[in-house]
Symmetry: C2
Subunit: 319 residues, 2 copies
């Protein structure tokens, strides 16, 4: 932090990074609160795949809206024009395809693990993201930052412990394997998105987002047809939508854009810290909103996550 004073470019970059990280944290925590709220309001009857498709569509629309504002103020340039080359666009479908495979696998893993157990196994994502970040993006973490990353994973899992968590240890081999594959797919999708976005640093992020989200729309349309064709044909596309459904779609779209921004101006490591802290914030806010009780495990996990955040930041300075 001491180094920030001098260079105004460094300072504005740091501000940009902080703002997008804060936005991601706030949006992710409100996401989980909306889910709790929607469950309290009664079971949601809409088909999840149509909502996912709407999220991708909204992200596309918002990116185009941002772009048209930029075109009006700055004119169309090489960096912000929508048209693209085959070379540039060929990699964009890959993250969306990886997420599609991961989401399809999600339906099968529940044969081996219950939902709370799956929440715990999802923390493998943290480790897989760290490892793939190192291998694919070839960026180094210091020894202390690796230690912090292991702590982040252990702390998040600890914070989620409840009296039934030990059941996850009885998960059969296939369940562990699928959880690890899903963590690798999701880590790979995140790291690959960062690679795509960072490959052309001067390219406008809204154009990059537009192309990511177009393929997101396409792959979600496929998932929609595979899983919910009958429901949509019989009950209609927007069947079961409510005010809260709309809010959730809006929130998911904004969080998705915040993720892209974090990957553009920061990296996957910051993204993982941000969503982990958001998970803890959600629990604290739920105490006030819904009268939830915090467990001792939550306090211990939060302590470990806080120390991890601290170590990650001092680990960077000592490099």
């Amino acid at each position: 932090m001491a180094k920030l004073g001098g260079n105004p470019l460094d300072r504005s970059k740091w501000q940009q990074k902080s703002i997008v990280t804060l936005a991601l944290t706030v949006l992710t925590s409100s996401q989980a609160i909306l889910i709790v709220w929607s469950k309290r309001a009664g079971k949601y009857e809409y088909s999840v795949t149509t909502a996912n498709f709407m999220v991708e569509t909204l992200k596309c629309v918002l990116s185009l809206a941002a772009l048209s504002r930029i075109w009006r103020s700055e004119g169309v340039t090489e960096d912000n024009k929508l048209s693209t080359t085959y070379d540039e666009v060929i990699v964009y479908p890959i993250p969306a395809a990886l997420y599609l495979v991961k989401n399809l696998l999600q339906y099968y893993i529940f044969a081996y693990v219950d939902a709370p157990g799956y929440q715990i196994l999802k923390n493998f994502n943290i480790i897989s993201t760290g490892i793939l970040y190192r291998i694919i993006l070839k960026k180094k973490l210091s020894e202390i930052q690796w230690a912090a990353f292991v702590l982040l994973c252990a702390g998040c899992t600890t914070a989620q412990l409840n009296s039934n968590s030990d059941r996850v240890l009885q998960t059969p081999f296939q369940g562990w394997l699928m959880a690890i594959i899903m963590a690798l797919l999701s880590g790979f999708a995140g790291v690959y998105t960062e690679a795509i976005i960072k490959k052309r640093p001067s390219r406008n992020v809204n154009v990059q987002n537009f192309w990511l989200y177009v393929f997101g729309m396409a792959f979600n349309a496929i998932a929609m047809l595979i899983q919910d064709f009958d429901a949509i044909a019989n009950k209609g596309f927007f069947h079961g939508y409510s005010f809260i459904t709309v809010l959730m779609i809006l929130n998911h779209a904004l969080s998705g854009i915040a993720v892209s921004m974090v990957l553009k101006y920061a990296d996957n490591i910051v993204k993982v810290y941000s969503t982990s802290v958001a998970m803890l914030l959600t629990a604290v806010v739920s105490v006030f909103l819904f009268g939830f009780h915090l467990s001792l495990a939550f306090f211990l996990g939060s302590t470990v996550v806080s120390v991890a955040v601290y170590l990650h930041s001092i680990g960077k300075l000592q490099k």
Copy 2:
């Protein structure tokens, strides 16, 4: 570690430190296993205060035995003679007195906390030892070592979590206060003992131990008379002793001597790490000996403790 190669004095000091630390770890873990074993063998009917008195007496005898060997080989010198000055001996009763107060308080805290809750609150000892070590011995820990110490406390507590642990959060104010006072007393006794032992570095550790343990005998005799006078008068001093009681007394005496050695050749921080790792080792060994099951919380806590040990060691090198 890289620095060790050159100086043979540093090397032998490091070896001494490693051996006493290892001895403390092994003795502490076998201690807990003996307790489990004795409980399995049926309730123990002996009075705990007589056993504590026997432990202090045995430690005294062992120190004298070690001294007489030294006197035979090296002769009596200024450093290993048993006789002492008022100035030297005046501070020796203080740790024993502090432990006496702490052990008496122990009977009252159970009015506010149950036994498993007390096990969890005892982890305050880790933090109090760190703080008093800093204040009284004026030794510095690096930022990373402080972070590691917080992690050690959180990790040990996490490893001990079970489905009833959340009850400890309902502890009334008096319970928290007593737990904190007891942690401060026990931390203070440990740090003060280190101060006494380190004040005269050339003084033979067996002489220092002898005087510590003589006062230990005296204060334990007081506790014995306060708490168990009737039982001893009616049933006899050694009533209810079994083979396993003798083993436990032997083990406690050797662990006590190991603690003194760790404080002479290392410090309270090493002592805390050593006993924490011993706690985890005990659980792992109990899986094989008694068919215990390890919980997910135990794995997470052990991960955090391992990272803490790692960070403590690299934190030292970076100072």
